[in-house]
Symmetry: C2
Subunit: 316 residues, 2 copies
């Protein structure tokens, strides 16, 4: 299942409105088929893996990160039917599909066809990797990641706005990799005017994965950009299950104040700036006590001499 | 030697102007003597360990964190002479003593008496643990630790000054432990006026180790406090080899601007504050490039849900 999850990662940010699923088919101790949801959402991971496996799927075990779909579409048959027809003997599913067209029906259909189905394997990891799809299903909006690159004292620039460079090359390259995992990047007017950012993916081999660009504005977006009027309006962004908010302080604060941040991606350089520009504007905090318990560290890593930390929003 | 270093830790912040040395005497695979510099600087670690070992020191091996002193004083004989007279066969020394009255003479005297001497074992760790003494010897001033307790976005309080609590109980207890390792704590006028801080050590068993209190002011200190006019004046503080700067932002910035901070002790709570009070005032940074390469992470630990980090000033 860990291998299937690694495959699902490949589709992150490219499969909306479909989930980024991964699938591995194992027979006699060997992997005979591998698949992941393709850009735009089709083919599905299971169809791709079964096509590779061919006859080897008979009697094999399939590992799928999400419950196979139970609904036929003009673009292809239901994956539960494909799996049943392939002759696989066992299917491991990490997570049930909340899509009402499937939601248990995929597993039921497999079992009805005589396939042994086990679920729950690495469910938490699967929920993290397919978080954009799940957030869209549950809350009707994309999963929002807020990126902040700061000094040890929480500054994102010097007082006059200079911010090149706070973090090092490895951290900046990692930001580009994160961009490639999002359908859309958003900045505020201040960042747009000051930096005229390209916001593209400048990593060899991933240039084609540069996301759509959005500006937080009540006005009209410049050419090549889309306008987002407010954090509360992100549900209307078609084809966006992962939104990457890159700055600046007022835009970040607006998303936090609206409780529209699900993931904090922090890069911290081992430097001190002193009187500069703070990472965040007013987030509407009334009391220190209410600030606690909102964020849980879920990943941390050194990138050169910078520390990366990922915090997830805790919602009870 | 690691055990001797652990003993040296016991004296940190209590032995100035003497170094906080640790000493272990091993004979036939057993520890027969343990010593550490006592409060006020006497007895020395070696004298204490030899007193415990008694006749068992004959033919034994001694581990000392600093080169044994070569100078007699009215308060006791030179440790190099004591060790030689005790009959120890071998002495391991972590670090040479830069005090001109010893500086190689302690080791020479041991060798002249027929004792085998090895030096350099765990020297870097020893330099860290006896950093206050070494800074005083090298630069004529105490080692300065700056403590900052911030949110993830680098704020030390809400906009109206409320700061209870940003960090949790474990981090706050750790701060009290750090206080006990310093001869003096210093705050600025703003912190004094706003918090009227006690700055004592509120840890069971360590209450008696509350350090002297200083106020950064050009005026007169209140009763029970000492006045320090400027960061550049700390060399004149008699009996202070470790100075703990606890706030606030202007005081911290003044010490950083004067390059009088050797150790950054950061506590970071997993919360966001937004528009609040920044950790630092103006530190006089002219360019981002010059901010890099100044700080090296040397320790990190989770305290409850807060992360503690210790950075050391890199001086080339």
């Amino acid at each position: 299942m860990a291998a299937a999850l690694a495959l699902s990662e490949r589709g992150r940010g490219r499969t909306a409105p479909n989930p980024n699923v991964g699938c591995i088919i194992v027979s006699g101790g060997s992997v005979v088929g591998r698949g992941w949801t393709q850009p735009g959402g089709r083919p599905h991971a299971e169809a791709m893996a079964l096509a590779e496996a061919g006859d080897a799927a008979r009697g094999a075990t399939a590992y799928v990160t999400l419950e196979p779909c139970a609904h036929q579409s003009p673009r292809g048959p239901a994956c539960a039917d494909l799996l049943a027809a392939s002759g696989v003997a066992t299917v491991h599913v990490a997570l049930g599909d909340p899509d009402p067209r499937t939601n248990g029906k995929g597993i039921a259909r497999l079992r009805a066809a005589g396939v042994a189905v086990h679920d729950g394997l690495l469910a938490a990891e699967a929920a993290r990797l397919m978080g954009g799809f799940l957030m869209r299903q549950r809350s009707g909006r994309p999963l929002v990641t807020l990126k902040l690159a700061t000094s040890l004292d929480g500054q994102i620039a010097m007082a006059d706005g200079r911010s090149r460079w706070i973090t090092g090359a490895a951290a900046r390259a990692h930001t580009h990799l994160e961009r490639a995992r999002h359908e859309m990047i958003l900045v505020g007017r201040g960042t747009y005017d000051a930096d005229a950012p390209r916001l593209d993916v400048r990593l060899a081999g991933l240039e084609a994965r540069s996301p759509r660009r959005a500006l937080l504005t009540r006005g009209v977006a410049p050419e090549g950009w889309e306008a987002v009027a407010a954090p509360g309006a992100i549900g209307a962004l078609a084809g966006v299950d992962h939104l990457f908010v890159e700055g600046g302080a007022q835009t970040a604060a607006a998303f936090l104040a609206a409780d529209r941040v699900d993931r904090l991606l922090l890069y911290r350089a081992p430097i001190l700036i002193g009187r500069g520009r703070a990472a965040l504007g007013d987030i509407g905090l009334a009391d220190l006590a209410e600030a606690h318990g909102c964020w849980r560290l879920c990943d941390t890593r050194l990138l050169g001499s910078d520390r990366m930390e990922v915090y997830e929003r805790v919602r009870i």
